[in-house]
């Protein structure tokens, strides 16, 4: 029979009958699965699933199907969608009682199948990483600027990429579609900026750098065209024609290039 418990705080004498009663009550809570009335935010041992919280701020530790997990309940009896911590793996589940990854969010609609990152500092925005597409579809994955109300990145279920383009119209193969909300779309590859910036309109590909630029096009490990800040190289084998008419007869289209000797010419209408 324990007559005293000595802790760092001092000696606590134990009145046997009281201790037995208190321990019995505590152990009954621990093992018998009895729900207790709420007393502030407490975690009560409750090994029986399905016990409901009787008031707000009540929480339960629940055993699930023979395993032990920490289930935090509010006022509902269901194990989901409240957080579940699986002590066997350390995985945290939200909306799932069987988290497969360190953080596993499981929801049935794009409106809530999200992870929100919010920066409340000056200039900060809130961003949602969405399993789905905001307001449109449960397919793919996207990143939405919640503060600006715009989808910035969208990867479809087929692997097509949309940048500032909520929808992606696949042409063939895999498509990257860029849109600024109007008919314009610009892909910029920009090095360290110099004075000012390159402004353009229409569908544009901008390749610009402080110390120069280079755009190379080719096929089969062979460069066919190089456009740099100091020269243009065409390695496409321009055909030799005497004049515009001869070039037209040879199949060179209007605005197409041909040569007359070493002179490079362009067909005109």
């Amino acid at each position: 029979m324990t007559i005293a418990i000595i802790t760092e705080a001092g000696v606590r004498k134990v009145a046997p009958l009281v201790v037995v009663a208190q321990q019995a009550a505590a152990l009954a809570q621990l093992y018998a699965g009895v729900a207790e009335a709420s007393v502030g935010n407490r975690i009560y041992p409750d090994y029986a699933t399905g016990n409901a919280a009787t008031s707000a701020g009540q929480y339960f530790f629940v055993a699930s199907a023979g395993a032990y997990a920490l289930h935090i309940h509010g006022t509902a009896t269901a194990l989901a969608p409240f957080p579940v911590l699986d002590p066997a793996t350390g995985n945290l589940g939200i909306g799932t009682s069987s988290p497969a990854m360190p953080l596993h969010i499981n929801k049935a609609d794009q409106s809530v199948a999200r992870l929100r990152l919010q920066n409340t500092g000056t200039g900060g925005h809130a961003f949602d990483i969405i399993a789905g597409l905001h307001g449109a579809s449960n397919e793919g994955i996207s990143i939405r600027d919640v503060t600006a109300g715009a989808t910035r990145l969208n990867i479809t279920n087929t692997g097509d990429l949309g940048i500032c383009s909520a929808t992606v119209t696949a042409v063939f193969g895999h498509t990257m579609q860029i849109s600024d909300g109007s008919a314009n779309g610009t892909v910029s590859i920009v090095g360290t900026s110099g004075a000012g910036y390159m402004a353009t309109f229409g569908a544009s590909l901008i390749v610009a750098g402080r110390t120069g630029m280079s755009l190379a096009l080719g096929a089969n490990d062979s460069t066919k065209m190089t456009l740099s800040s100091s020269y243009i190289v065409l390695d496409v084998g321009l055909s030799n024609y005497a004049d515009d008419s001869a070039a037209a007869a040879g199949g060179v289209p209007v605005k197409g290039l041909y040569r007359t000797g070493s002179a490079v010419k362009m067909r005109v209408s």
């Binding site: 000595i6 760092e8 321990q23």
Partner: protein, 136 residues
């Protein structure tokens, strides 16, 4: 630091009680407990206990890495050493009652603990009240 703990025993029954030390593992420690009429007495102890295997008279310890006890409304789990003190009925009956004989006799005790590889210290001590009891 030694804890002050007064304990009481009845003359006509064995004394077999536990004192739990929270936060310590005293497995392998050496124990010595003497009961004397007054602190500071140097004569032969009225009762002298050492390490034993219960329920044989003496002191023993068991370690529980997850001992649970109630702290107000909270159930606390902590490692603890359960020190068990056993004194035979014959030993207690051999102790003299005071005058008048119907009053408890206040003797004194303390428990020396020498942890394995550690330094001897007084773990707890205080009055050892011998109650005369009624049933013989």
């Amino acid at each position: 630091m030694a804890a002050e703990l007064d304990i009481a025993a009845f003359k006509r029954v064995p004394f077999d009680d536990d004192v739990v030390i929270i936060g310590e593992n005293l497995t392998g420690a050496a124990f010595a407990l003497h009961i004397r009429a007054h602190p500071g007495d140097t004569g032969t102890a009225l009762v002298s206990l050492g390490n034993t295997t219960p329920p044989t008279q003496g002191v023993s310890v068991t370690y529980d890495a997850a001992y649970q006890y109630q702290d107000g409304a909270d159930l606390i789990t902590a490692p603890a050493s359960n020190i068990r003190i056993c004194i035979d009925e014959a030993t207690l009956e051999g102790l003299a009652l005071g005058t008048p004989y119907d009053e408890p006799v206040d003797l004194f005790y303390d428990l020396h603990v020498t942890p394995s590889g550690g330094t001897k210290r007084v773990q707890f001590g205080g009055k050892f009240s011998l109650k005369p009891g009624v049933t013989i």
